[in-house]
């Protein structure tokens, strides 16, 4: 039995003040992905059966490249946040959960960087 008031015990044990940020960024990226995702899904599926030349030249427009990179950033950020929630909900072991979340964030960052550099290489060559 500890002789502490309820207030004393609760102080300093509040939220980490980062939950709102996660919630908000998940929604902001979701809103960005509505137009960007619809466009890019159509764009990439139509190019899927095109020739290499046709696909390559479609990335020669400054606007297409800018929108593609914006899409990639929103996509992998959103994917990373979504997967984090799934690990948090279903993995009870703390160290495993923490490793999976960190692994997911690193993996998504890597895929985003790889995609962006590839798009820039297509654009510049």
């Amino acid at each position: 039995m500890k002789y502490e008031s309820s207030l004393k015990r609760a102080q300093g044990l509040g939220s980490a003040k980062s939950g709102v940020h996660h919630w908000l960024v998940q929604r902001i990226t979701a809103m960005a992905l509505i137009p960007l995702g619809l466009w890019f899904m159509g764009f990439s599926l139509l190019l899927l059966t095109s020739s290499y030349e046709e696909a390559h030249t479609s990335f020669s427009s400054l606007w297409i490249v800018t929108l593609s990179i914006s899409f990639v950033i929103a996509l992998f950020y959103h994917a990373s946040l979504g997967m984090q929630v799934i690990w948090e909900d279903y993995v009870p072991h703390e160290l495993t959960r923490w490793s999976l979340i960190m692994g997911t964030h690193l993996f998504c960052s890597f895929l985003a960087i790889l995609s962006i550099i590839s798009i820039l290489k297509i654009f510049l060559t």
Partner: protein, 136 residues
């Protein structure tokens, strides 16, 4: 005598399989499921950029990998997941600003999501396959 703590069969709270599937719960689970599918699908997009940056041979190799019956079924499932997650995501965003909480509305918006995602997938693949076969 009290038995040891590990011998006590404590009641568990009812889990997912106990409940009758309802449009609300099924769609909620599908939102998560399709989210996981899309996480995998985003890797396909990344590889597509990499193959296009890698030159003609790499691109053709990737194309033949995707443009076969198995690849096309995966792509169709992926695009359905995409349209479902997008439509249901809009439903979630509307809930976030306080719209559509009445039960009849929730059911109606749920079925709207199901029909629009099927429709969008159908339209996309009709156009996509027509273009592939040179009909467009």
């Amino acid at each position: 005598m009290l038995s040891a703590p590990e011998d006590i069969k404590r009641p568990l709270s009812p889990h997912l399989q106990i409940y009758k599937p309802q449009i609300t719960s099924v769609l909620s689970i599908l939102h998560r499921g399709t989210g996981i599918v899309l996480f995998g699908g985003s890797i396909l997009w990344c590889f597509w950029f990499v193959s296009l940056a890698g030159g003609r041979d790499a691109y053709h190799h990737y194309q033949t990998l995707l443009l076969n019956p198995v690849g096309l079924i995966i792509l169709m499932g992926w695009s359905f997941s995409f349209f479902y997650h997008l439509c249901n995501g809009i439903r979630h965003l509307l809930w976030d600003i306080g719209i559509g909480y009445e039960m009849p509305t929730v059911r109606k918006s749920g079925w709207t999501v199901v029909f629009s995602s099927v429709l969008l997938t159908g339209i996309t693949w009709t156009i996509g396959l027509m273009k592939w076969k040179g009909l467009l």
